[in-house]
């Protein structure tokens, strides 16, 4: 397809630890269309944040991409040097982190921090235009531009998260990655912010990867959803299909374990066991020790991640629990 802004093919990344390599991202492939909103959902340690930092190549010293391609508008980012990557970060692909306070520098005003990225990436703008743009960004994320000369500590949690989003939008990226941007916020503030993020994403026709452990938040912000389990993509389909016609037993379990305040009060299902230790993952399908449908093949061979029709991708030997 030509309209994909991002194509990730067989991405594999590991962390070197004293006990051996941890394959946090293992053979993950997906694409992202221009202007599309993709949700990545999974539990802690499933590799969703590792995917995000791999895309930006913001890897800690002990992490390494050991295979696969990340094609951004056709350019493979994997072999690029730091200096070359810097031309892409913020400008083409930017990220909103979970802990907004840590993402902001406490000794600079919010405006100075937004200007810094623009001065590097958008040298064609003059000073007045940049200040004007900061005002526009503030209004876009729902902050009063009168606060732009304040320091991060003077902001509330919700305001900081909005400031970080403004910063991520400042250089007009093609893709924005939002990693649990609302997790630390209270429900009413979270709701206001989610609504604004969706509006911005549609208005700017920007592609977004929204990462969360919260199934309900993912349902509200994404058009398509990828479900990750133990470093691998278990299932990927339209949001509607993931929620109403899940095929992978893990997705089925996740959906029926998640409580809701609306609708019938259904019995919550418990998945047996716990997610595996990625230092020593189970052979074959990584979900097989917890899977109610597992058979001998699941313990030996890794299922292929393939299309079961209409772009509904699943990696399972018994999709939908059938033999």
């Amino acid at each position: 397809m030509t309209d994909n802004v991002l194509e990730v093919r067989n991405l594999t990344m590991h962390y070197r630890t004293r006990k051996g390599p941890v394959f946090a991202v293992d053979d993950v492939s997906f694409s992202l269309a221009r202007g599309e909103s993709l949700g990545l959902v999974g539990e802690s340690g499933c590799g969703k944040t590792s995917v995000a930092i791999s895309l930006l190549k913001l890897l800690p010293d002990n992490a390494e991409i050991i295979g696969g391609e990340i094609l951004l508008n056709g350019t493979n980012l994997v072999p690029l040097s730091e200096a070359e990557m810097n031309k892409f970060r913020w400008r083409r692909i930017s990220m909103v982190f979970q802990a907004a306070m840590n993402a902001l520098n406490p000794v600079y005003t919010v405006e100075e921090q937004i200007l810094e990225a623009m001065q590097y990436h958008m040298p064609h703008l003059d000073d007045a235009e940049m200040h004007q743009r900061v005002d526009e960004l503030f209004e876009l994320v729902g902050l009063d531009p009168a606060f732009k000369n304040q320091y991060p500590h003077q902001y509330s949690g919700g305001m900081r998260q909005r400031a970080v989003i403004a910063m991520a939008l400042s250089c007009e990226p093609d893709i924005i990655i939002a990693d649990e941007p609302t997790t630390a916020l209270d429900v009413i503030v979270q709701d206001q912010l989610l609504k604004r993020i969706r509006e911005i994403q549609k208005q700017l026709n920007m592609a977004m990867i929204y990462i969360s452990h919260d199934v309900a938040v993912i349902a509200e912000v994404s058009e398509r959803v990828g479900v990750m389990y133990a470093g691998q993509m278990a299932e990927m389909a339209s949001t509607e299909a993931i929620f109403h016609r899940p095929i992978h037993p893990y997705t089925i379990g996740l959906m029926s374990a998640f409580p809701s305040i609306v609708g019938e009060k259904t019995e919550l299902v418990t998945l047996p066991g716990e997610p595996p230790d990625l230092l020593d993952p189970p052979p074959g399908c990584r979900f097989h020790p917890r899977c109610p449908y597992a058979t001998s093949i699941c313990m030996k061979e890794v299922p292929e991640f393939k299309d079961y029709g209409g772009g509904h991708y699943v990696a399972c030997w018994h999709p939908g629990g059938e033999g």
């Binding site: 539990e43 209270d186 709701d191 452990h213 509200e220 374990a257 305040i261 919550l268």
Partner: protein, 330 residues
């Protein structure tokens, strides 16, 4: 099943924290963390205390377990030896009270001592209370570990918290709370640190234990969807005040207080085809430092008027069928 026998009766409970200033650390103002709170909890029920961070729900939990002392008010506990006021307990009676009331904390990574084995962690309350012989304690600890799903107990007894997953640690914390056979357990966000696939197991465990050991819960949470499954009744707190209290399904389907309505309408729904009707309110939550006497929700309320401005915070009143609301406009 809920009976109508009262277990805990909280009357006019208040807790003020001083905001200190100046060289001599004089209290300049007070944060009204819990303000004039009244709540009755019956035998065998599970009452949810919900609200946003800073609303005073954890402070209430700590007051009820006497981890902190109240500024005003009383907390009557109906025990087999008659009614005692938790707020005025001292010395030996306070220690005995700790047998009856226990707490489960949010973060199983913080609440377990990393230098104690699982056995030492769970047996500690029995040691402190001087319950049973050493042999009996060992048996009781093993028995409880099995009950909370850490089987076989022998393989867990001499491990340390860092060797366990988050879900297993929280099961240890639950075993530790229940080892002294308490009647009343305050659970402060016991599942909010756990992943979805593990969380449901811990929720089911807590429900099973409630029936098995006749435990009554005060379940503190910010997550209304979890509260729906864990609680018979839900109390909504806002800036130290109880604003609404009703049976769980009644509250979720017919919230009356404007804050409760806004809060419920902001909860994301795990169904992409469901369209929420938002009740929008202004701004975010603030700290109740020396608040004016009027309704705490006045500044953000979409239906407040002059009457709300001029009068004190409205009392919690029964609007029918035990559905209590603190609002002049409902």
């Amino acid at each position: 099943m809920t009976e109508d026998r009262l277990l805990v009766n909280i009357k006019n409970l208040s807790k003020l924290f001083p905001v200190e200033a100046g060289v001599f650390r004089r209290a300049k103002a007070f944060v009204h963390a819990v303000s004039n709170l009244n709540l009755q909890i019956h035998y065998g029920e599970s009452v949810g205390l919900v609200g946003e961070s800073g609303c005073g729900k954890t402070t209430t939990g700590k007051l009820v377990t006497r981890l902190i002392d109240p500024t005003e008010g009383s907390i009557e506990l109906n025990t087999s030896h008659g009614v005692v006021d938790i707020a005025s307990l001292k010395g030996k009676t306070l220690k005995e009270f700790r047998r009856t009331v226990q707490m489960i904390f949010q973060d199983p990574y913080e609440s377990l001592n990393p230098r104690l084995t699982i056995y030492d962690t769970v047996v500690e309350p029995l040691d402190v209370q001087g319950i049973g012989t050493i042999r009996e304690r060992e048996e009781r600890v093993s028995h409880l570990l099995e009950i909370v799903g850490l089987t076989p107990a022998s393989s867990f007894l001499f491990r340390y918290p860092h060797e366990l997953s988050g879900g297993q640690r929280q099961r240890v914390a639950i075993a530790r709370a229940l080892v002294v056979n308490p009647q009343f357990v305050v659970a402060d966000e016991p599942t909010s640190m756990l992943d979805v696939s593990v969380r449901t197991g811990v929720m089911h465990l807590m429900q099973d234990l409630a029936e098995r050991f006749d435990v009554t819960y005060l379940y503190i949470t910010h997550d209304l969807a979890v509260a729906r499954y864990m609680c018979n009744r839900i109390a909504v707190m806002y800036l130290g005040k109880l604003v609404e209290l009703a049976e769980t399904e009644e509250l979720l389907h017919h919230p009356l207080h404007p804050y409760a309505r806004a809060l419920l309408s902001a909860v994301p729904v795990p169904d992409p085809t469901y369209k929420r009707k938002r009740v929008e309110i202004k701004g975010g939550i603030t700290k109740p430092i020396n608040p004016p006497p009027r309704c705490r929700f006045y500044e953000r309320c979409p239906i407040a008027d002059n009457y709300c401005y001029r009068n004190d915070h409205p009392p919690l009143e029964d609007k029918g069928g035990g559905h209590m609301v603190a609002c002049y406009k409902v």
